[in-house]
């Protein structure tokens, strides 16, 4: 899945922070839960036309799944594959619980301002997303259902949700292979359903790699007829590009 073992780039984002960058088609973003217990909120947009963005319902219903793991693809609202999950150590990532906001963080973990705590102040996912989105001329209208990597929320037969504690361990890794250029907006703020007593602050290590070429036998491409058709749509999008 990787062109080479050595990362092109390696970085650590502290817990309770946010960052964004553009992933280019044909590269892998490796997410590593450095300490265990991480939550990474993520949104994705097409830099060429940010009206195209990650779409939670289309991703779930196309693959008849409530969870995300290896073999799944992350679909845009335009029927294309933004990224493929080519490695996953955990088997379950959440994309239905949304993100924490200022009110939720203050209610759950107390108010800690920048004046009080400098860069250890309590950031929240909602404001963090807006902060990063503004760098691309995007805003509240562009907020959509986000991914929550390393977090597990399951349901019972009645649809009641339950957050699963201790789901992710130190070193847990997810590899996302990008199938089109994508603005990646992320934060390391707590999962909105985390029952932790203290504001959870877990860093994210991320690395960039060149991806090996995607073959017709690629496990993500062949995982379902729906995924195969989404790859066909993505190929059409790139038809007139070198």
């Amino acid at each position: 899945m990787l062109h080479s073992a050595a990362p092109l780039y390696d970085d650590l984002i502290p817990g309770g922070s946010h960052w964004s960058f553009i992933m280019r088609r044909g590269h892998v973003l490796r997410l590593i839960d450095e300490t265990g217990g991480a939550n990474v909120g993520m949104l994705m947009y097409n830099p060429e036309n940010p009206l195209e963005r990650y779409n939670m319902p289309d991703t779930l219903k196309n693959q008849h799944t409530f969870l995300l793991t290896k073999g799944h693809v992350l679909l845009s609202d335009m029927g294309r594959v933004m990224a493929s999950i080519v490695r996953d150590d955990l088997g379950w990532h959440d994309t239905v619980s949304g993100t924490c906001n200022a009110e939720l963080v203050e209610t759950r973990w107390g108010r800690k301002t920048y004046q009080d705590a400098h860069n250890h102040y309590h950031r929240n996912g909602f404001t963090s997303f807006l902060n990063e989105l503004a760098k691309y001329g995007l805003g509240k209208k562009d907020l959509t259902a986000n991914l929550n990597w390393f977090s597990k929320v399951k349901t019972d037969d009645e649809g009641n949700m339950a957050y699963v504690s201790d789901h992710s361990h130190a070193g847990a890794t997810v590899d996302l292979r990008f199938e089109m250029d994508t603005i990646v907006v992320l934060h390391t703020c707590p999962h909105p359903l985390s029952p932790a007593e203290q504001y959870p602050s877990h860093p994210l290590r991320y690395q960039l790699f060149k991806a090996a070429p995607v073959t017709d036998a690629d496990p993500c491409k062949t995982s379902s007829p729906e995924a195969t058709r989404a790859f066909a749509n993505t190929a059409l999008y790139h038809l007139m590009q070198a």
Binding site: M56, N62, L75, G79, S97, T144
Partner: protein, 212 residues
């Protein structure tokens, strides 16, 4: 939860039939009640809500399901906005369960779900795009079209993380009723989908009623 309404259609201040494949757009004021009626059964009403005074605030599927700790909507469900405010509450429901995970059909999602050549079939997002384009005064665009409620649709989630589109549990005459907690713009696409059982392969009219 099945809960019948105490309101009578003959006292409604507003009634409109919405054929399949059409959109419905109306402001419902705080305190008013809106009923969406499945006239012939097995229909899907794909619905979005906006704060009528500031449409950047709108219905949020993820905030709603997290706030109530359950992925299905029924009587008693509180519909939350993207800014964590109560928009509407479901006050009556004779269907029992409504979906807010499955999203709406679009030309593009029809290509992935069914076949690449389905791209020109009419879809819910087309109806919404026409609605916002025909009503430029609202200041809405594709940016504002997010994750909706599928009234009358049944999308069961299993304990091991599966998700299925099941036969509808609605029937002719079933309805859902919501009381607005703020002035809301209601935008419905009465689903034209012909490729799955969500509306029995036969899209049919819905009716919208409003009581002051």
């Amino acid at each position: 939860m099945i809960k019948a309404s105490t309101l009578h259609p003959e006292t409604a201040a507003f009634r409109e039939t919405v054929p399949a494949g059409e959109y419905f757009l109306k402001v419902v004021k705080a305190g008013e009640t809106i009923r969406i009626l499945d006239r012939e059964g097995n229909q899907a009403a794909d619905t979005l809500f906006y704060n009528a005074h500031n449409p950047t605030e709108r219905y949020s599927a993820v905030d709603t399901i997290r706030a109530q700790g359950n992925v299905y909507l029924t009587a008693g469900s509180k519909l939350m906005s993207s800014e964590n405010n109560l928009m509407l509450e479901i006050t009556a429901d004779t269907c029992g369960r409504h979906d807010t995970l499955g999203g709406a059909c679009a030309a593009e999602s029809n290509t992935t779900r069914y076949a690449l050549e389905k791209k020109c079939m009419h879809a819910c997002r087309d109806s919404w795009l026409v609605a916002v384009t025909e009503h430029e005064e609202l200041g809405l665009s594709k940016r504002d079209i997010t994750h909706n409620i599928n009234f009358f649709m049944n999308v069961p989630v299993t304990a091991d993380g599966g998700l299925t589109f099941a036969d509808g549990i609605s029937d002719a005459g079933k309805y859902v009723e919501l009381k607005a907690a703020m002035d809301v713009l209601v935008m419905i696409s009465n689903c034209p989908q012909l490729n799955n059982p969500c509306n029995g392969w036969n899209p049919t009219p819905i009716e919208v009623l409003v009581w002051n």
